[in-house]
């Protein structure tokens, strides 16, 4: 990189076109040769896994959070001797939150780095783009954080997904509300994004079966900035619960404007939440309910889980959420699967994933994949107790649910 900067400085001199050309060629040459191996002092060539994630673009934060969790676990594994006597190396590549770049990056990892498997995306768009490549090229693909159902549609062979599918979240939410208040009046406000559409599809499927009454259903386009009018409409509909999911910062806007208008935190349900989102809602949201798959306030954390939380918090000044947890678990799942496969062979690894029976190291929740690569589904519902500025928050577990992916016609609900 230093060289490139110097070339650019030279480029402002006389021989500009030539220098610029040279800089670009040099940069591209450098990059293609730069497979970024952080060599670890261990016997045997490392087992390479392509980690194709969002380091720039709209999903910057998620990709980088994920990599933070990933690095902690892979260092632990390699300190403890790696797997099959070889270190585990995650080749992290930026897909710029762009599906095209994700396809290209997959190809790069496959062809140039000769990785044994792919992993990495935290976004359904890029995850789906990589899905196409992995299935076509017969490359095992473990998706850490992407909830869009079609990633494990019938006929899927090489893709395995750690996060439960989003239609299931909506389904379980409806059952949770039925239990909490039979016949409840529910309002929904959400951004127009694949994830939110899938959650809503699951919820709308189950709502009549659970005898819930949907009194408002408001979809916002991406890039919305204000929801005061809709919040007023929702309040006028007098719901018992408001389900809200905004894309990015709009989530916070929805939350704040509802509270400003007098909706009580106890009435607000967030189908999913990450640490930064809870910080954004703030202390005034104490009492609100959110769904998650991992939280430092869970009842059943393992010793490793507590340790992970402490160390992640120390390094990043915030407790981890489910995104970091899944990415932390990813290397462990690979380790188990590779050990089961007995070699770093793509076909054997795929086959090992189908047989794998393990648990999340952090929470002890079982991990096993069905014939389409989907996992036994589960969700926690938590209630916010208090939020302490931007540093930490307290929450308590109020509900846990498990169900089979086949309990609802997921792939018909979400195309």
């Amino acid at each position: 990189m230093k060289q490139i900067i110097e070339m650019n400085r030279a480029a402002s001199g006389r021989a500009l076109p030539v220098a610029t050309l040279a800089a670009v060629c040099l940069a591209s040459g450098l990059a293609s040769g730069l497979a970024s191996p952080v060599a670890r002092a261990q016997a045997g060539a490392p087992i390479k896994i392509g980690f194709n994630t969002e380091l720039t673009g709209p999903w910057t934060f998620f990709g980088n959070s994920c990599v933070a969790g990933l690095k902690m676990a892979s260092e632990e594994i390699n300190k403890a001797g790696g797997v099959l006597g070889r270190p585990l190396e995650f080749v992290v590549v930026d897909n710029q939150t762009s599906p095209t770049q994700a396809v290209a990056a997959s190809r790069n990892l496959d062809v140039n780095d000769k990785v044994v498997a792919l992993s990495g995306p935290t976004n359904s768009d890029t995850a789906l783009a990589i899905y196409g490549y992995a299935e076509q090229q017969k490359l095992p693909y473990l998706v850490p954080v992407a909830a869009f159902p079609q990633l494990t549609k019938p006929g899927t062979r090489y893709t395995f997904r750690i996060e439960p599918n989003a239609a299931g979240w909506g389904y379980s939410l409806a059952r949770f509300l039925e239990e909490r208040k039979p016949g409840a009046r529910v309002a929904m406000m959400y951004s127009d994004a694949a994830l939110m559409r899938a959650v809503v599809a699951g919820f709308k499927y189950q709502a009549p079966r659970s005898k819930l009454n949907i009194v408002a259903d408001i979809l916002f386009p991406q890039g919305s900035s204000d929801a005061t009018v809709q919040a007023a409409q929702v309040r006028a509909a007098n719901p018992d619960y408001v389900i809200l999911m905004g894309a990015g910062a709009f989530d916070n806007v929805l939350n704040n404007q509802l509270i400003d208008l007098g909706v009580k935190p106890e009435q607000m349900i967030h189908p999913f939440a990450m640490t930064t989102m809870i910080f954004g809602w703030g202390q005034r949201s104490a009492g609100a309910i959110y769904g998650t798959f991992f939280d430092h306030g869970l009842d059943g954390l393992t010793r490793e889980g507590k340790d992970f939380i402490t160390r992640f918090d120390a390094a990043n000044s915030r407790p981890p959420s489910y995104v970091e947890n899944y990415c932390y678990n990813t290397p462990y799942i690979f380790k188990e699967a590779l050990a089961l496969a007995g070699s770093a062979d793509r076909e054997k690894l795929r086959e090992a994933f189908t047989r794998l029976k393990t648990r999340e190291v952090t929470s002890g929740i079982p991990i096993a994949f069905d014939k389409n690569g989907a996992r036994k589904e589960y969700i926690y519902f938590m209630q916010i107790v208090s939020v302490d500025g931007k540093r930490t928050y307290k929450s308590r577990q109020i509900h846990y649910a498990e169900w089979d992916a086949d309990d609802i016609p997921v792939y018909e609900l979400v195309k």
Binding site: G248, D260, G262
Partner: protein
């Protein structure tokens, strides 16, 4: 009228006013720079975002929101001076300078979004400024936060001052003279380059302020930059480049359109409606509503 109807009505008014005022402010900044310097600043959304992020960081470091805003405004002026000195002034005499400016500011956009991704993008996925003032004022059945009332007042106040200054202050009159005809202005002894610099500074500062007001009224993330760029350009097209009155009126119309259409149809329809309104406008009055 029932309370529920009143509630929706009042919320429409509040949304329309706040969104409209912020749109108008940012568009005014853009229109001054484009109308006068002929500089279509593709990175104005990034400027907007930078101000909001900088204020967020200062607030995180313990500054009050008011102090953060003033601090960022000064930093913003300094930054605009640097950018003017390093990039903008090099193109004052280039014949095709609007195109050249667009490219240069696109480059700037790339650089800034790269920097944002490597810094703030790693710290959080959403940002909120603490309110300037606490408390809620009831307007009939509608509870409006005092913070948003203050934001609205500042935005409208700045627009009023801007409007008056362009009309009555000698600098403002010189600025308008350059808007209308730079050769004639130069002949009359106006220092055109100084006016260029002034309008770049003025426009940028207004955009910086707009970013911070937006951050006070709403939460924001890194995607707001592009949305704001496009909206501001659209307002400028409809209102007419260089027309602050056009920015004000059209900004308000856009704000209210979003609020009102979303009552009857959906928020998506609202976004569609103002983009399509703009296209229709071009068919009948391509020079913008408020240009001669």
């Amino acid at each position: 009228m029932t309370d529920a109807t009143l509630l929706v009505l009042a919320s429409t008014l509040s949304t329309g006013l706040i969104l409209g005022a912020i749109f108008a402010l940012v568009a005014a900044g853009v229109t001054i720079v484009y109308g006068c310097v002929w500089l279509p600043n593709a990175s104005n959304g990034q400027f907007f975002l930078l101000a909001a992020l900088a204020a967020w960081s200062l607030a995180g470091a313990g500054w009050s929101s008011a102090a953060a805003i003033i601090g960022v405004l000064f930093m913003g002026i300094a930054l605009s001076l640097v950018i003017e000195w390093v990039l903008v002034r090099r193109l004052y005499d280039v014949p095709e300078r609007n195109v050249a400016y667009f490219v240069v500011t696109l480059g700037l956009t790339q650089i800034m979004s790269g920097i944002f991704a490597m810094s703030w993008g790693l710290w959080s996925d959403q940002f909120t400024l603490p309110p300037l003032v606490d408390g809620i004022t009831m307007i009939g059945p509608f509870p409006m936060t005092n913070n948003r009332i203050v934001v609205l007042a500042i935005a409208l106040g700045v627009l009023a001052v801007l409007f008056a200054a362009l009309r009555y202050h000698p600098y403002g009159r010189a600025l308008r003279a350059v808007f209308q005809n730079r050769e004639a202005a130069a002949l009359r002894g106006v220092n055109v380059r100084a006016i260029y610099r002034l309008s770049f500074l003025l426009g940028s500062s207004i955009i910086f302020l707009g970013g911070m007001l937006f951050a006070l009224a709403y939460s924001f993330d890194l995607t707001v930059a592009w949305t704001m760029s496009v909206t501001a350009f659209a307002i400028m097209i409809v209102g007419g480049p260089g027309s602050v009155l056009g920015a004000l009126v059209v900004g308000m119309v856009f704000g209210f359109t979003q609020a009102i259409v979303s009552i009857f149809a959906s928020p998506t329809a609202a976004t569609f409606s103002y983009l399509l309104a703009m296209l229709a406008m071009l068919l009948f009055r391509p020079s913008g509503l408020f240009n001669r």
